[in-house]
Amino acid sequence: MAKYLLIESRDPFENNIVARQYDLAVNLVKEGNQVTLFLVQNGVLPVRPGNLSSLLTNAAKAGVEVLADDFSLRERGIAAAKLAPGIKAVPLSIVIDQLAEGRKAIWH
């Protein structure tokens, strides 16, 4: 089992490839890997309950750890207490911790 860190900095409302990154995370889990999907910058926009947040909630249900950078949330006025189900607000330092443990990391 490998461990992956997928960092998503883009907004799925303006970039169709973002949803494929979510799919990649789910498929990696289905193949027995441990995956964190870390949302940062405009990547946090779909965490508000809405038509695209279900993609993230479904990814979480599939076993992906879905995390959102708390600083990016604050910058965009998104309350950490009002995220869609399955998404957790965390500090950016999680990325350093997971890089340090040797996770395979991909920035998008």
Binding site: I7, V40, L92, L99, A105
Partner: protein, 135 residues
């Protein structure tokens, strides 16, 4: 033995939040006692450009001091100072060809000119590498 992380950056300053996030990551790594290598490629060689200067904002009627415009070179210098105080290594290499193409040779103290071979060596000798591409 201390952990070492390598970051490859490609964005020019003032263009994308990726630059800010990258510097936040480097700051957090240094604060955690992690050695950091940075390979600045393409427009990112302008991040530590020594001639970045603050300016007034005539539209809002603010002076240079009031505007206090942020300078990436100052942030990077602060990161280097922080690394020294923390006793960890922060090595910043600017891609030489990218520097020449852009006339960006005047970098702040502590920045070294190099080549993609430096990135290869960084990656080979690091615990992990994160490439923050532009697209």
């Amino acid at each position: 033995m201390a952990t070492t992380l390598t970051f490859a950056l490609m964005d020019a300053p003032y263009e994308n939040a990726r630059s800010t996030t990258a510097l936040r990551l480097i700051d957090l790594a240094v604060k955690r006692g992690v050695n950091v290598n940075v390979f600045a490629y393409e427009g990112a060689v302008y991040l530590p450009f020594a001639k970045q200067a603050q300016h007034p904002n005539a539209v809002h009627g603010r002076s240079v001091e009031e505007e206090n415009h942020p300078l990436p070179r100052a942030w990077i210098a602060a990161l280097m100072k922080e690394a020294t105080a923390k006793g960890v290594k922060l090595e910043w290499v600017n891609c030489g060809l990218c520097v020449d193409e852009r006339g960006a040779a005047e970098a702040i103290e502590g920045v070294r000119r190099g080549s993609p071979a430096d990135f290869w060596n960084f990656a080979q000798n690091s615990d992990n590498t994160l490439v923050i591409g532009t697209k």
